[in-house]
């Protein structure tokens, strides 16, 4: 391990703790502009954190492929049932 690696370790820890929020960009958990700059600056110079960021992104993309098929017939039956429910009342 190089000395520069040891020096950057606390920053790596901070970046990894905030990485998911950075990648998700969910409106419920935004990073502040200062946090964004801090994170992106570190990822630009740290190969390990950049690599972890890529792996998280790929994992999330792969998980998206598992989205369940929603049966169109089920939707049609429930829509008909909803119509009946609202017309009867």
């Amino acid at each position: 391990m190089k000395i520069s690696d040891v020096i950057s370790m606390p920053e790596c820890h901070w970046v990894r703790a905030h990485l998911i929020r950075y990648l998700d960009r969910d409106p419920a958990a935004p990073l502040s502009p200062e946090e964004l700059v801090r994170l992106e600056t570190h990822i630009a110079i740290c190969d390990k954190c950049a690599s972890i960021s890529d792996e998280y992104r790929e994992t999330s993309k792969a998980l998206g492929q598992l989205r369940a098929h929603v049966d169109q017939e089920s939707i049609a039956r429930l829509s008909a049932s909803l119509e009946k429910l609202t017309l009867e009342n």
């Binding site: 929020r21 998980l63 998206g64 598992l66 989205r67 369940a68 929603v70 609202t86």
Partner: protein, 177 residues
């Protein structure tokens, strides 16, 4: 527009979302349809309490409560698990029907990813599936599971880190083999 008409207008577009979540909760399409049906009836009965602000969140809360209060009473052997993933092993060796979509997924999804997700504790797996697989926001995920958004964030963060480690381990094992 009268109330029943407004109800239908708000609720009908949410049926596919409700079905996806219900399928996650029940593990199969037939039971999911029953759960959504139950949710629609309960929601219609509670229409006077709805402020019109966020129909999806309101419906998801009713669905979650219906799943807890009604569904589990009918199925005492129900395991709090998520059964959307290919290669899922049903409890008690029961056979679960496989769809063409399931078969297609088996061909394109890395088996080590499935293994990694199935290896997570239920509370981590549920957040990962709702956010990454089903595409729900943190707020919607919190609503479905009845937990704070902060808990969603921390569980999701830990879940992704665990999946990454598991995938890394699988890669190393593949190299050694």
């Amino acid at each position: 527009m009268n109330k029943p008409e407004a109800f239908r207008l708000f609720v009908e577009p949410e049926i596919p979302v409700l079905l996806r979540v219900a399928r996650s909760l029940t593990g199969n399409s037939a039971d999911a349809e029953d759960l959504v049906q139950e949710t629609l009836i309960k929601a219609f009965g509670a229409l006077n309490n709805f402020d019109g602000a966020n129909p999806r969140a309101w419906l998801l809360t009713i669905l979650r409560n219906a799943a807890h209060n009604v569904w589990r009473k009918k199925k005492p052997d129900y395991v709090d698990d998520w059964t959307l993933l290919p290669n899922f092993k049903p409890a008690f060796n029961a056979e679960s029907p496989r769809s063409a979509e399931d078969d297609a997924l088996r061909g394109v999804v890395d088996p080590s990813l499935i293994k990694a997700v199935n290896g997570l504790a239920a509370e981590f797996r549920s957040v990962l599936i709702l956010v990454d697989v089903d595409g729900f926001s943190y707020a919607e995920c919190a609503e479905i599971l009845g937990i704070p958004i902060g808990t969603v964030m921390s569980r999701r963060s830990r879940a992704v880190a665990k999946v990454r480690k598991s995938l890394q381990k699988s890669k190393e094992e593949a190299v050694r083999a």
